[in-house]
């Protein structure tokens, strides 16, 4: 079905690339890990830093002109107008008064965080799989991603099966896996339609069958978690432990979201109905491309976040006009709205450009900045740590030559957890 649609489309190239990359790509603790650099091996005393910046886009309030950011222990200690902040002794002062500062970008859908082991495709649903064992911190692709401003990614299994496994939220900077992991399991990956479609001869080759398979698996998980919840409340006997279903616990307890490879009106309808309404999961629409924006009001009503793309525009056949997908969602009232690259489908470092194109098709610049930072943080439920420049949050800061949405500007320095991980003065400009 998807192939047919693609063939009809003017912009089939990107879509087919998605399909090819994700299917062919053989590249790339029971309790939830919320690592925060407790690693003794790599944990060094981080320098205290004061950065003077021409303009700070905090992603939460108004921009701050001529501002100062203080960084201590990898966190933002203070932020505000330069006049109001006194830099204490012992701080390394960096002058970027000609530059802009903004929060590090967050990619809600990426496959380049580690080795290429994306799809384990023997079974259609694989809730037992996890991908954070395959993390390669600061790998060559991530180094370029940093130069494009990406400091956090949602590194997930591919969409070769209906349930690819559990993914991880991680920083792009250097360190051991436990240094870069923000949360593991970070998200569950579900793929509805398109890539995971199977040949005849197997159950679940069409949309009806696929959704049957997904639903059965979720029902099994839901029952398991319910049994444990009842046991923990003292209302039932201890259920039998099942490692295969363990990561369903944070999912059904709504501590982590499910990112859903879903696109087209009809498929998103089933996403809403099954994953949100019936299963009561924290759903994130990843992709949401083609004509799916037309169901936007249904998503908005439920507060479901949309991380649109990487296909950012679509020929609307009714209007006979190319339409920017992101802005169409905006018009329909999606609050938590962002973009993604599905890297390597679109190179990770071009995340900002996804927002740029959305702005070209009518999205506001202010919303676009948020859509690259705080909105994906909210969607992925990590906005307590990243996504905006606020006191107490991780010091993931970009220094740019101007608004990141203008492709003529570029990133000159990147801080992750308060450490400078990229500096065009020292490193060659990578992107």
């Amino acid at each position: 079905m998807i192939l047919k649609l693609l063939k009809q489309s003017f912009f089939a190239n990107v879509g087919i690339l998605t399909l090819v990359c994700l299917i062919s790509s053989s590249f790339l603790m029971t309790s939830t890990i919320r690592a925060q650099s407790k690693n003794k091996r790599t944990q060094q005393d981080k320098p205290k830093i004061a950065i003077h910046v021409g303009k700070i886009m905090t992603a939460v309030g108004d921009p701050i002109g001529d501002g100062t950011i203080l960084i201590k222990d990898g966190k933002i200690e203070a932020i505000g107008p330069r006049k109001k902040i006194t830099v204490p002794d012992g701080y390394l002062v960096i002058d970027h008064s000609e530059h802009f500062a903004m929060p590090g970008l967050i990619d809600a859908h990426s496959h380049v965080g580690g080795s290429g082991d994306l799809n384990e495709m023997v079974y259609q649903t694989n809730p037992e799989l996890r991908n954070w064992d395959q993390i390669i911190p600061h790998n060559e692709r991530l180094k370029v991603a940093i130069a494009g401003g990406v400091t956090t990614t949602c590194f997930i299994p591919g969409s070769g099966t209906n349930m690819g496994g559990f993914g991880v939220l991680m920083k792009t900077g250097p360190g051991d896996p436990e240094d870069v992991i923000i949360r593991a399991p970070g998200v569950l990956k579900i793929a509805q339609a398109g890539n995971p479609e199977r040949r005849t001869g197997e159950t679940g080759s069409g949309k009806m069958g696929m959704n049957y398979v997904i639903r059965q698996q979720l029902k099994e998980g839901q029952l398991y978690v319910r049994q444990w919840d009842d046991f923990e409340k003292g209302e039932a006997a201890k259920p039998e432990f099942n490692l295969r279903l363990e990561y369903f616990k944070p999912l059904f307890r709504r501590q982590i979201p499910v990112v859903v490879h879903t696109q087209q009106y009809q498929v998103i309808q089933s996403t809403i109905r099954m994953l949100h309404d019936e299963m009561n999961l924290k759903v994130v629409i990843d992709h949401g491309t083609f004509d799916a924006y037309k169901i936007g009001k249904q998503l908005a009503k439920r507060g479901i976040p949309v991380m649109a793309g990487p296909r950012a525009f679509q020929l609307d056949r009714d209007k006979g006009q190319v339409t920017g997908i992101v802005n169409e969602y905006e018009k329909r009232g999606i609050e938590i709205l962002g973009v993604n690259t599905d890297a390597p489908v679109i190179p990770q470092e071009e995340l900002f450009f996804q927002a740029t194109m959305a702005v070209r098709y009518g999205w506001s610049e202010e919303r676009a900045i948020k859509g690259l930072t705080i909105q994906p943080a909210k969607a992925l439920m990590i906005d307590d740590r990243v996504g905006s420049l606020e006191v107490g949050k991780d010091a993931d800061i970009l220094i740019t030559t101007g608004s990141i949405l203008d492709p003529r500007n570029f990133v000159t320095q990147v801080f992750i957890d308060g450490s400078s991980v990229y500096d065009t003065k020292k490193d060659r400009r990578r992107f």
Binding site: R41, M121, V122, L129
Partner: protein, 429 residues
């Protein structure tokens, strides 16, 4: 000859000749057959004992297939003691210990193809001491070898520690470590979404699957009581009663081994380790020993696109990681790592005493010290010098000459350097 046989006079002469020859043969061969009375005193310019000291010159007395005495000068056991005086510049060192190899296993495959989890399969049942590849390793100095099931299974089976020569009792430990794989090798022949009527449509088809099978198997066995466990071998690993060797090349796979070790309280020995240098601090901190597999220096990357580091052994040594070399042709590998910065002492240890210790057979092999097996190599010069030749290899007190394939062109030279015509050799032909 035909003529001689026809004439009785000549026949008589022939019988005498044969009898004499037989007598001489008996005299020469008898001590060899009656192995227990054998004693040999070997003198060399340098003796690397690998027991903390190097003797120069040195003597080693071998009695009954064991090392009896080592020193600057050692007195012979009795008048029947045979003496081997190695020439000028000669070096005597312990036989090499290869801690991970498939050489020595039969040619009919080292991996079980129908299943992924075969911890109860034992390498010992496939060892072929007559295999020419094994003989070749022996002639190149390897006297002890840990033969292991291959890497195509997530849990491959049980290793065996053997002598490379069958001198009567060539098995040091037939019930060695459990070998597992944390690499993409088990995925090699598995397929997904193809015809479902083949056994190869099965997990794992990538690393996520490998990790899952390791995790779930360890977990299942962990939760089962000792008696009812499906895989007693894995239970023994989990209770610290059996060593675990786990093959991992890439740095992230080695990190995964650490994760698994944390979860299941394992003390793994990492085999492969092509990218161990990237996680050297962790390896040193956790005290995980590494058995470094040989690297192919002709390619820019190793298997699984691992990024090779030619001086990795020296780097690991500096970081304080314990390691040994493995995977055949240990002498070549030792010369390579020495050339790339590892000290002489550490290099020689990495092919003798260290692997012996990792395999738990340090009381039998890996050093020249009293009571250990008399497994020795006689070199014409410095073992780490490419121009030095192995003159002979001794296993359990028996001097083994080279097969013709290696020595043909140099036979005369070799004989002269053996240290006297009286040296008896097995398999001299």
């Amino acid at each position: 000859m035909e003529q001689l046989c026809l004439r009785s006079k000549n026949m008589k002469r022939l019988i005498i000749q044969f009898t004499t020859a037989g007598l001489i043969f008996f005299l020469l061969a008898a001590p060899q057959l009656a192995h227990a009375e054998d004693s040999i005193l070997i003198s060399a310019d340098t003796v690397y004992t690998m027991n903390g000291k190097t003797l120069s010159p040195g003597q080693v007395l071998v009695v009954d297939g064991k090392i009896k005495a080592v020193g600057k000068t050692v007195s012979a056991a009795d008048s029947s003691t045979q003496e081997i005086k190695l020439g000028p510049g000669s070096v005597l060192m312990p036989g090499l210990v290869d801690p991970y190899s498939q050489t020595g296993l039969g040619d009919d495959g080292t991996d079980e193809r129908t299943e992924e989890i075969t911890p109860n399969f034992k390498a010992i049942h496939s060892v072929d001491w007559e295999k020419s590849a094994l003989r070749r390793q022996r002639e190149n100095g390897t006297t002890t070898m840990c033969v292991s099931p291959g890497r195509q299974n997530v849990f491959g089976g049980i290793t065996a520690i053997i002598k490379t020569y069958d001198a009567g009792n060539p098995i040091l430990n037939e019930d060695g470590a459990l070998i597992a794989s944390m690499c993409s090798d088990p995925t090699a022949s598995n397929r997904s979404r193809s015809r479902p009527d083949t056994i190869f449509v099965r997990q794992p088809t990538n690393r996520m699957g490998v990790v899952w099978m390791l995790r779930s198997t360890f977990d299942k066995v962990n939760r089962a009581s000792a008696g009812e466990s499906e895989f007693p071998e894995i239970k023994q690993v989990l209770t610290g009663k059996r060593p675990l060797m786990i093959y991992a090349r890439m740095s992230h796979d080695i990190t995964t081994v650490e994760t698994l070790a944390n979860t299941f309280k394992l003390s793994p020995i990492i085999v492969g380790g092509h990218e161990a240098y990237k996680v050297k601090e962790m390896l040193a901190e956790r005290k995980y020993p590494v058995i470094l597999d040989r690297i192919d220096t002709r390619a820019t990357t190793g298997a699984e696109q691992s990024k090779l580091c030619w001086n990795q052994a020296a780097v690991l040594d500096q970081a304080g990681v314990t390691f040994a070399l493995c995977g055949n042709d240990l002498l070549d590998q030792a010369r390579f790592v020495h050339r790339h910065g590892l000290s002489r002492e550490k290099t020689l240890a990495a092919i003798t005493a260290t692997p012996a210790k990792l395999l738990g057979v340090q009381d039998k092999v890996g050093m020249i010290k009293p009571k250990l097996d008399a497994d020795l190599i006689a070199f014409s010069g410095d073992p780490l010098d490419l121009t030095s030749r192995i003159q002979w290899v001794m296993v359990n007190g028996q001097v083994l000459a080279h097969s013709k394939s290696i020595t043909e062109t140099n036979e005369k030279n070799n004989d002269a350097k053996l240290g006297g015509d009286s040296v008896k050799t097995k398999e001299g032909n």
